[in-house]
Symmetry: C2
């Protein structure tokens, strides 16, 4: 007979009044880096889980959704992405997805917190696989805002893989940052940012969409299902100088080894439910 054991549950208050709770086997890692509190816990339901400042960033089980969906829509919209920048994204999952595109010559990671990179290599080797020695990858432990300011007309695609807009990531949700990204992109460049939950962060999504609309000729919002993120529904916003994700010929898209993204959903993810679509339409409240 098994002896009764203490149960440990990790609870994230995703809003002041609501959250998720998940059973954990043990804490694998805890540190306070120069930028944030960093924990890795082993959960029963979602495998290893990376938690920054008390917020779930990624897990073994559902990481594929976020990493594929922030990456492949933009990459498959640009006809020939060679130079790609990831701002944030220290876990390496976006880099791994970028490297699935054969056109890529250089993938730069500008992650402000080296602790995230090291912890991910150790506890999430599958997610961080792109960080181990691919010659196309340039890992920079650096402030993404500074990197953007110092690079002009350089990138085909820029992905803003940030934490929530608190702590080190606040500046990554500001209009001036998006204007910097516009300058860092080539004349037909495209950017994408994670922009939180359409259920819980409606004002933020509306503001970012308006800021990107004022900065880029083409702005688009899409969503994906991520169970460990607040509400389970997550949004991404695209700003593009020339190429429209809705103008892509999906029949021509290359097959990719993916678990969420399919060429067949490349356009359909932009057909939003009414309560999400409202966030993108000026005339409606």
């Amino acid at each position: 007979m098994e002896k009764p054991q203490m149960e440990l549950w990790y609870t994230e208050r995703q809003t002041p009044n609501h959250g998720i709770t998940t059973k954990i086997n043990k804490t694998l890692h805890h540190e306070v880096t120069d930028f944030q509190s960093l924990d890795v816990i082993e959960t029963e339901q979602f495998g290893n889980m990376l938690v920054l400042d008390g917020m779930v960033m990624t897990t073994d089980i559902d990481e594929f959704v976020y990493h594929e969906m922030i990456t492949h829509i933009a990459m498959n919209t640009h006809p020939n992405p060679k130079n790609v920048l990831v701002v944030g994204g220290g876990d390496g999952g976006v880099i791994r997805e970028i490297l699935k595109h054969s056109s890529v010559e250089k993938a730069v990671l500008a992650e402000i917190d080296g602790g995230v990179i090291e912890a991910s290599k150790k506890y999430f080797p599958e997610i961080a696989s792109g960080l181990f020695g691919d010659a196309r990858v340039d890992i920079q432990v650096a402030d993404g805002i500074k990197h953007i300011a110092e690079n002009k007309n350089k990138y085909d695609v820029i992905m803003v893989d940030s934490t929530e807009p608190v702590g080190p990531a606040v500046g990554l949700f500001e209009k001036g940052f998006y204007e910097g990204i516009r300058e860092a992109l080539k004349e037909d460049g495209i950017m994408v940012a994670q922009t939180e939950s359409p259920w819980f962060n409606r004002d933020l999504i509306r503001r970012v969409f308006a800021d990107l609309s004022a900065t880029f000729p083409i702005t688009r919002l899409y969503t994906a299902s991520i169970p460990t993120y607040p509400s389970g529904l997550w949004s991404f916003t695209i700003g593009s100088k020339k190429h429209d994700p809705l103008a892509v010929d999906v029949q021509e898209l290359p097959a990719l080894d993916t678990k969420y993204y399919r060429p067949e959903i490349h356009k359909t993810v932009f057909e939003l439910p009414q309560f999400v679509r409202e966030l993108t339409v000026k005339e409606e409240k």
Copy 2:
């Protein structure tokens, strides 16, 4: 200065190892009916919440997704739905949505638990609005399985708005029940059932899809975002004798007063992410 107060949180273990937790102001209602435990709680995040046997059934804030999405896909696929049956659905939300279709002559509710109907009328008057005296509505406190067995060639659309497949709802997920529905439908009838989470209930979805594929010539799976349901992603499965939701001319669909459903998403919700699509494809595992 406010005095400190006791905090009450309701936690649902949606799986043995994972769940949601939500702050409540008070319990509005508790009873044990002949069929299940029934609670209504007032939450901070989601307004009033109906809980059956410890599982969230609906809330003021996100109820529109489930009720619109189980209803309008099937209703807008059938060219002229006059007679409609809801099995379960005692909260009345599906009836409310059905009544938005002007073709409807009769909407029958077969709910086994009268306690759900009464509690919903009292605590969810907006959801239950269709249960208050519309002459087209026939409310029967009755076993849906028995109702199906006793009615042949009668309905244009049948919706299975069940609880989880435990307790009173077990029989609503069995192949024999779907065969009964086929007989209760007219020759061009269509059915839809809620079929749980593609993240947590993969075996169930795969089995129901296979059973419906063996029962109807047309079977389709689609999803919607429901934050208070396990994983935040919910699936619905359609079985149809003649009309294919993917063959609808969305330009011809009537405008409806809805917050999630739009004619523009009528077909796109069937383009599934790869890990969900796998559940519908025999050749793949």
